[in-house]
């Protein structure tokens, strides 16, 4: 049984798309409206707004205030939080603390990114500057290249094969076709993945998620307010965060995601559960290799044994630990600041039994694993009903 101190009482998400036609106000409103309708509360209940995004993708600086105003939340305080791709799970951790500390009783976590404001080439360049701009990014490093290094290290250490990576994308597309909010909704075959061209060896086009525009929204409340406002609260059981060195030269190895392993340990300890207790998980699969690294970091498989999970289909809906059954980033796309909130939404729907075609029967405990940058920021959140 979870401690019932802080609850999620509403979740929402915009469609994730390539090229959203409106501005950031409208984009954010899409997720907000859905989350507020889900929660069944009015804007006056929101006591603080945490806006999560990676800046520099559009001209607006300090978007949090603009969004606070557009959503009609003034004078509720707001600010922006950023930890690259893990921004909205970081925002979730802050919201948890705000409520648990008694500072605010209902908090809205709104993640968004509108990446189509700039060219794809500029996106790659700016993402690259999320690594060290003194020692790494000037030499041409980019996110696919970094994750290719993780893959190469896994291949070299554990005998993992390109085929294992392809299986992750096949699973993603199996479920992505059911997700009406996903960028990619076509079923992809093993052969199609294997035959897609290289981006950065061994990663092929279909090993990579897509940049996207999107928003997500999660509303949290104190126990008292949740009981008053919500018929279907989902409780926060564990919050774990960690950080790994930004410079690769400072890392002990590239065989796994240390930031996620440590964040997971913290979250499990706080929740009083272990990997065997997780009924359904969302993990940060920005590249196929990242999902395999997540299996190992979270203890779903031993180090080096992640590939066997996907080979045996244990992370499919029918397996022992269903992972990314909403299609993952590989299908949904990856609007940086919105991604964590989308993961949280999927788990909340699962725990409420509202996940429809992808429902894991009787899911009681769910986990969200989110990573920022080159395995730098690690966030693990455990929810229960």
């Amino acid at each position: 049984m979870p401690d019932k101190d802080v609850a999620v009482i509403g979740v929402g998400q915009s469609a994730f798309v390539r090229g959203y036609p409106g501005g950031i106000r409208e984009l954010c409103f899409e997720a907000y409206r859905e989350a507020m309708q889900d929660a069944g509360i009015s804007s006056k209940e929101i006591k603080a707004l945490i806006v999560c995004c990676a800046p520099e993708y559009d001209k607006q600086r300090s978007p949090s205030s603009l969004i606070d105003e557009y959503l009609g939340l003034n004078p509720a305080p707001t600010f922006m939080v950023e930890s690259l791709c893990s921004s909205s799970t970081t925002g979730f951790a802050i919201a948890y603390s705000f409520i648990k500390s008694g500072l605010y009783d209902v908090v809205c976590v709104l993640g968004f990114q509108k990446m189509s404001e700039i060219t794809s080439q500029d996106v790659q360049e700016r993402m690259g500057r999320g690594a060290d701009v003194m020692w790494e990014s000037p030499y041409g490093t980019s996110m696919p290249a970094y994750y290719a290094m993780y893959a190469q290290a896994h291949f070299a250490n554990f005998g993992t094969q390109p085929e294992d990576l392809a299986l992750v994308r096949v699973k993603a597309s199996t479920y992505g076709q059911l997700n009406e909010k996903a960028v990619y909704r076509k079923k992809v075959t093993f052969e199609q993945v294997m035959e897609s061209g290289f981006v950065s060896s061994p990663l092929k086009v279909m090993d990579c998620c897509a940049n996207a525009d999107g928003s997500s929204c999660v509303i949290l409340a104190s126990a008292d307010r949740a009981k008053e406002l919500s018929k279907k609260p989902v409780w926060v059981m564990g919050v774990g965060q960690s950080n790994a060195p930004m410079n690769l030269a400072s890392r002990e190895h590239m065989r796994g995601l240390e930031c996620a392993r440590i964040a997971g340990e913290k979250a499990y300890a706080m929740a009083g559960v272990g990997p065997q207790d997780i009924d359904v998980a969302e993990v940060h699969d920005c590249f196929t290799i990242a999902e395999i690294l997540a299996y190992e970091a979270l203890g779903f498989a031993k180090p080096g044994e992640g590939p066997s999970l996907i080979r045996d289909k244990q992370t499919y809906l029918e397996g022992k630990i269903p992972v990314n059954v909403d299609g993952g980033l590989l299908s949904k796309g990856h609007p940086i600041g919105a991604t964590g909130g989308s993961q949280l939404r999927t788990i909340v729907l699962q725990l409420r039994g509202e996940a429809g075609a992808i429902q894991v029967p009787n899911a009681e405990i769910g986990l969200v694993h989110n990573i920022g940058g080159v395995g730098i920021y690690g966030n693990v959140i455990i929810l229960g009903r």
Copy 2:
């Protein structure tokens, strides 16, 4: 007597300068080193690092991870928080919650800005984009112009005069000359202020603070850890935050700072004190008019009566409520993300009786007022010993 739940156990600040010769790593280390020496603790005690800055002034994206690594804090989690000029007091509010909620027991709030990486013209342009880029900044609005509107509204409503503004700068320089970390350390005469050229009428050059490079650091701890680690804890009594509409068209008036008034009310209520109980205050004097608006927002003077406080020298060291006796932003300079931490440092030193030449005798309760953008983000923090 303050609730003794969360304490400040260490404070540090770099010199604020025009053109820091090192990089952001070194800049941040300067404040961190001083705060850690002040706290007398080792890096292993730090459980989370909150990095506060306004991005876009240098090439590095997501600097929090880089700084976490450079300070030797891995695997302690980190992220960036931004609310324009109030970023580090926002970070302080998060740190308070992290500790009060039990998530972390010792948290480091590190604010910095290196504005000299880009030209002054670019700084002005990017600052302008901290207002609405759809309806305002494309038409040439800039921060001096916005605050000139506040001044004009105050003049029109209350008969405030340019001479009142000049008195604020004279006070700032009176104390700024004693602050070895300030950009401007020369005494400025009333005539010099009045004769300085217009930037945006009625604001003259000497009504404006200077862009600067700098860092600040505040270390907070839980009651248990503070008692164990510190001989001189200063306690967090009140934390208030609010937000006003970014678009000026959505504001009811420009006569005062609503975000600060509401944040102040919240902080007073939480602390169980009122304006009359404050022994010493730091307020956000990005422009001279802003200090007068702060007097009124915080209840040190009634609306429209702020100028009488400075005319009567009531905000000097010998007055009824000493304000910005460290020279304020007008003397120290304003390295955006570092400013709030510098204000907090001054108040902490005052409450410990370690403020030297600017010590307010027997200061027991101090207040920090910080504003982001065009009166958008308001943060008020009350500390006590």
